[in-house]
């Protein structure tokens, strides 16, 4: 019983014909595939620094989140904005002399290190916690820059739930995002106090928020900055409480691939320059005036070195001597960046706390520019 009836009388020539035409198709397909693969393969052609590549390209490929208000978020005019984004812009201003020459790559937490290591991006500025495993050669093998935001993991609960401390969450379910240190910190915090809990793990912060708001979990956990950012978008922010418990320290830093000293140094000193500029009171508004003043006054040696009036420092980093001026013109100093995105007048107001300058009771300091 042959239902379709096509194999009743196979002609002898049919298979031969099929072989010939199919082998030709196969060859063409293979040739196409191999050229595609060859063009996609990330072979290390140049053994030089990534910094040279960025300068030659005239553009910085910067990995951001794109989903965290205050850090990197799409503004109504379709541009990325936030603290992480301004770090990218300051880097571009220092590396290629134009803060607008940045291509942003929105990345999820699990994607970010692969994107960096495969060379899809030059620099990662995506609220990434600096940890041993990510730094070490035996781990992710990255090179981290100075901390741009001191954060800590916290828990957010419904204000009416009666939960006021970690211990009140014993046996409850907690919404958490994947691919981050968040999950491990959560377990460390509960395990060390012998508290049972059920993690409901999502891939993305938006889904964590969705699960929490829909009542799947009694609490959601993330960095406190992200909790504040998420809460700013809720219909009733007052109904949610961020617990006082800080279950981890989360120093957030930009990062590049390890083993590339020129690129790592340039990144490090761009961040330092933002902090140094705030220490010296150099702002977006007065930078040109300060520069003129320094140029006219040979006794201001340290300031002249910092701004590149006396050349040398920029050259040592492989950057233009006036890289600091370029940066401050584009983004302002660290304090200005912070206030623009996270200050009291911004949508995501986070008290500056540990992110104040060292001289003002905070942790932000820059090593000397000498």
């Amino acid at each position: 019983m042959d239902v379709l009836g096509i194999w009743d009388n196979p002609t002898r020539s049919l298979p031969t014909l099929m072989f010939r035409s199919s082998s030709r198709v196969l060859i063409v397909a293979l040739a196409g595939l191999s050229s595609l693969l060859a063009s996609c393969a990330s072979l290390d052609s140049a053994s030089g620094s990534r910094l040279d590549l960025v300068k030659a390209r005239g553009e910085l490929l910067c990995g951001v989140s794109g989903k965290i208000p205050g850090f990197s978020f799409l503004s109504p005019d379709g541009r990325y904005t936030g603290l992480d984004v301004d770090i990218c812009r300051a880097m571009a201003a220092a590396f290629v002399g134009d803060a607008e020459k940045v291509q942003y790559r929105p990345l999820t937490a699990p994607e970010r290190f692969t994107a960096l290591r495969s060379g899809e991006i030059d620099l990662l500025s995506r609220n990434t916690t600096h940890t041993l495993s990510r730094d070490a050669v035996g781990g992710n093998g990255l090179r981290f820059g100075p901390v741009v935001f001191h954060d800590g993991q916290g828990l957010m609960v419904n204000a009416t739930s009666g939960v006021r401390a970690l211990a009140d969450l014993s046996g409850k379910s907690i919404c958490v995002g994947s691919g981050t240190t968040t999950e491990q910190n959560l377990n460390d915090a509960f395990a060390s106090q012998g508290l049972p809990y059920t993690p409901i793990k999502y891939q993305d912060l938006n889904q964590v928020v969705g699960g929490y708001l829909q009542g799947r979990c009694e609490a959601m956990t993330s960095d406190r900055s992200q909790l504040a950012a998420a809460r700013s978008g809720f219909s009733d922010p007052q109904a949610h409480l961020i617990l006082d418990d800080r279950i981890s320290k989360e120093p957030l830093s930009p990062a590049v691939v390890g083993g590339d000293q020129p690129m790592g140094d340039a990144m490090t000193w761009v961040v330092n320059a933002l902090i140094e500029a705030e220490e010296r009171g150099i702002t977006q508004v007065n930078v040109d005036a300060v520069m003129k003043q320094a140029a006219a006054d040979p006794s201001q040696t340290a300031l002249r070195r910092f701004l590149g009036v006396d050349p040398g420092l920029g050259h040592k980093l492989g950057l233009a001597d006036d890289f600091v001026v370029q940066m401050i013109r584009a983004t302002g100093n660290y304090g200005e960046i912070y206030n623009r995105h996270l200050g009291p007048d911004s949508a995501v107001a986070i008290p500056r706390g540990a992110n104040r300058l060292g001289g003002e009771g905070g942790l932000m300091i820059s090593p000397p520019f000498t």
Binding site: M1, V3, L4, F19, S23, L26, I27, L30, A31, L33, S34, L37, A38, A41, S42, L43, D44, A109, P110, F113, T114, R117, S118, S133, R134, V137, G138, G139, N140, G141, S173, C175, S178, G179, T180, T181, E183, Q184, N187, D188, F190, A191, Y197, T198, P199, I200, K201, Y202, Q203, D204, Q207, G210, G211, Q214, G215, R216, G259
Partner: protein, 296 residues
């Protein structure tokens, strides 16, 4: 002629081997560049993370290997249940599309049309965030209890995450299976329908005993690839918080930094699973064909 054919074959083989060598070389170059050797010693270390759903006893102090195994079992659970339910739904909808009943026919047609136009990820998010998390807490007849914390069914405790993935995969794959079943039924000559009707058999009985057995040879190969799709699509479970193999691997890779080994394990697990599915289906296919040939 024969030599040319040989030459072509050698050429094709050389290109294939070259491509493979390029990929392996890339992997080796990257491993050297990052200073990481390929190693699996980390599998024995404590995982340090909790899991929401465990088929066997699990604690955060257990090894990564055990955590991954639990994840694999969770995947297996949802895939196995999904295969059965999607087949039932697909066959029912496919048969309904060939039914004489106009309402049934258009209902099934609407279902297939709607489901096949919407991406699976969106459907999963819909089932989870809108349908299941929106559930009020209600007992139904004492045996079933619905709430957005979980579903109790005759003493069986199902998490809403599991239910969302299961329903999402079932409904999505069911629509494709329905089309395959309809195509298979259409391939059976109309004379077969007229024949069983003239013998006085009812529509349902005729469909089950006369038409579907003859449609099977046309249905099975396409059905196999839908089964494989369902298994692979189950990795979308992480979007709705279900602790499947992919979700566990994801956490493992983040914590250990062993991306290449993690993905290799993931690849092998799915390869193994899908080989099992396609092997089983091939055996079933042979049995069906054998029976048809004998009854000829």
């Amino acid at each position: 002629m024969r030599q040319r054919r040989l030459l072509v074959q050698v050429g094709v083989a050389a290109v294939l081997i070259g491509l493979l060598a390029l990929l392996v070389n890339n992997l080796a170059v990257n491993l050297i560049r990052t200073g990481l050797g390929l190693g699996f010693g980390w599998l024995g270390r404590p995982a340090g993370f909790a899991l929401a759903e465990t088929a066997l006893p699990y604690a955060p102090s257990d090894s990564y290997l055990w955590a991954l195994t639990i994840g694999w079992l969770n995947s297996l659970k949802v895939i196995a249940a999904g295969l059965v339910l999607a087949t039932v739904l697909g066959v029912a909808a496919g048969a309904a599309r060939s039914s004489n009943n106009r309402l049934l026919r258009s209902l099934a047609g609407g279902y297939v049309a709607l489901i096949r136009q919407v991406p699976l990820l969106l459907q999963l998010l819909f089932w989870y965030f809108v349908a299941f998390l929106g559930l009020p807490s209600v007992p139904i007849g004492g045996l079933i209890r619905l709430s957005n914390q979980g579903i109790q069914l005759l003493g069986l405790n199902l998490s809403v995450e599991f239910c969302a993935v299961l329903v999402g995969l079932t409904v999505f794959t069911g629509a494709s299976i329905a089309e395959i079943v309809r195509g298979g039924i259409n391939a059976v000559p109309r004379g077969q329908w007229e024949a069983f009707r003239s013998l006085g058999l009812g529509e349902g009985l005729g469909l089950r005993r006369i038409v579907l057995p003859q449609a099977l040879p046309a249905i099975l190969p396409a059905l196999t690839s839908q089964y494989l799709n369902l298994a692979k699509n189950s990795t979308l479970a992480i979007a709705v918080g279900y602790a499947d193999l992919y979700a566990v691997s994801d956490t493992t890779i983040t914590q250990t930094g062993r991306a290449i080994e993690g993905f290799l394990l993931l690849l092998l697990s799915f390869l193994l699973l899908n080989l099992l599915i396609s092997g089983g289906m091939a055996a079933f296919n042979r049995a069906v064909l054998g029976r048809l040939n004998r009854s000829r």
